[in-house]
Symmetry: none
Subunit: 417 residues, 2 copies
Amino acid sequence: MQGEIILTGTELMTGQVAEVNARYAGRRLHESGLSLQCITMLGDGAPLFGEVLHRALGRSRFVIITGGLGPTDDDMTVAQAADVLNLRLVQDEAMLARMRRRLEERGFAWEPQYGKMALMPVGATILDAGRSACGFSLKYQDVWLFFLPGVPREMRQLFESGVLPVLTAMAGKTGHLAQRTLKLFGKMEVEVQQAVHALGKDLEGIEVGFYPNFPEVHLTLTARGPEQASLEEKLDQFVAALSREVGEVLLGTDGAPLEELVGRHLRRQGQTLAVAESCTGGLICHRLTDISGSSDYFQGGVVTYSNQAKMDLLGVAAATLEQQGAVSPETAAAMALGVQKLFHADYGLAVTGIAGPTGGTPSKPVGLVFMGLADPNGVESRRHQFPGDRDMVKTLTAENALDWLRRKLLTSPGNSG
Amino acid sequence: MQGEIILTGTELMTGQVAEVNARYAGRRLHESGLSLQCITMLGDGAPLFGEVLHRALGRSRFVIITGGLGPTDDDMTVAQAADVLNLRLVQDEAMLARMRRRLEERGFAWEPQYGKMALMPVGATILDAGRSACGFSLKYQDVWLFFLPGVPREMRQLFESGVLPVLTAMAGKTGHLAQRTLKLFGKMEVEVQQAVHALGKDLEGIEVGFYPNFPEVHLTLTARGPEQASLEEKLDQFVAALSREVGEVLLGTDGAPLEELVGRHLRRQGQTLAVAESCTGGLICHRLTDISGSSDYFQGGVVTYSNQAKMDLLGVAAATLEQQGAVSPETAAAMALGVQKLFHADYGLAVTGIAGPTGGTPSKPVGLVFMGLADPNGVESRRHQFPGDRDMVKTLTAENALDWLRRKLLTSPGNSG
């Protein structure tokens, strides 16, 4: 069963934004055993749209169309499609009422051109009408058509809730499917691939996809067959074998993000955390607090850019800053102990370094980072030298600091899971 | 003069790699005043290739084809194209000799299938024969065809040396190009469009693109004509007129991010900032410190999730927390004053709210956020009710807080720019 995607958006033709929607859909369809034969990108309201859609209808079983559903003049997808399909456009009253309500809730005025967003070809079904994202599906002769917004977050929501279930049900006869997504941190993609291939026998009947997802490597595992339980067992066996092979490099077995794994360990052990950041400037706290319920174990943090703040808030000694410098193992350790005490936390995590592009010296170059980790028994520090620009140094520092804490918690006496 | 791109590569259809070649070419062509009307992606050796190339030849003045030029069985682009063009393939002896030599230099053995890489349609010209990358161009009737490798580094080399010069020479008569990107915050996309259209006369000869970039709206302006200086002047006039129309909604005129604009104002006024975050969990500090040199004006911040931390670090009164609650205008104001004092800063910015999905009550629902802003003369607070999930509430809170500070700094007596 072949399908295709048509993306509209002038920003895609001028290289202004990276294409992410077809990539997302392509990956999810592939994981589900469905194939794309063609992806076409066109500008907003492109005259070619009609021709491209017409060809797609003649050769594909499903066509996913993204973009051009908005209220502005250059949003012409629905009108163009209705023309090709020779279907009348009707205004959906429920959709219209919902849009009015949502605008009011947010304190925005109704504008006449919003009415356009409730226009759909006769016979269309609104996708996931409970949310704010617009989209609809339409069966046209033998072909399923899906119209989705171009905004990636909305596109993904509707794709998962309204597109993938329909298509996998259509393709259902092909048998059962089991899948896992694994995240790994601490090995290069090539090393992960070698580790996977080394598992020869366990790997039989499993399709593996490798996705570098800086600074992690993500793996997708897919097994297909007549019986669900044996597929799940096969994947469980493979994950266990891979875990033995790569150890702590495997970040859990359910694809949870690193900051969530740290939170689970802390919650299980009934312990709390505080964080002091210099070069990461708040990124570690931001990641930790992205997890709902993090207030149960995350006490808080400080961003101490200046030496004065390191002394005032964290009690780092003036002598340490003068003699060892702000970027030193001694300062990192003192910051970790200081923030642990300040927030009455069980663990204190601290980073101090030079994110660049300025501020580096021959003895302390850009990318030099020290981390400190205080636990109930004492404090340790670590040195890293990271490559890349400011953004990359912040990203690598946050990931390594959180991973250090994860590994520490994994081996702590309080860990029972 | 319209053109198109055909990309081949199964890894593009399965989402395994991000598309970068068309994005690069699209940007470079757009900068040079050349337009793409269609980008098509197909799997390796896809049966559709012939049909897609045939259509492209009928409607475009140039077609750039990437991928499928290698030695393996799934590299079929050249043979498929020769078939559509009805041209015989010939082996280029010079190319063959060069490939043998390069393999020897690298210590690799010659394999018969490498011979395939020197096959080209009759009439083709090797692109940049001095390098290792393979590629060629071909004029077919009225259409320029360019065959480039899929490896991004090689594709870019040949695009710059062998494609862009040919196309810009062809399009030479079309003249000069001026461009701007503008960022706006505080109006919906529809309102921005109304404001733009209201500028009727100033808009003449300017192409405008609208790009929702949550929570901002971005605009691209393009003007083409025979003389660069008058194009720049036309865009400057339009930007000035739009600025008069939308006022502070326009985030500067050079496309700098909001956190950089805040930093520029602080730097110009010689003033400093400290931030206290509850529901945003470090995101505001993270954004501010993404700007190189932010340590000149950003003193630091605290993430105070618990009431205890709000009292201990920021001096929020226990009575305030008890009587008004942690999510209240009084607490937001006290946090702003507290963090201003703690870091000896000129400005103190604070947010406290309920990011969800848990923690909401009927009187204080998820998305309710209070912000406090302390300046040298006093403190103010504001109330917001944001829609969406945890991620959206964090994003909207950070954007609104930074924008409030930007507007405050714009109108402060110390602002001279």
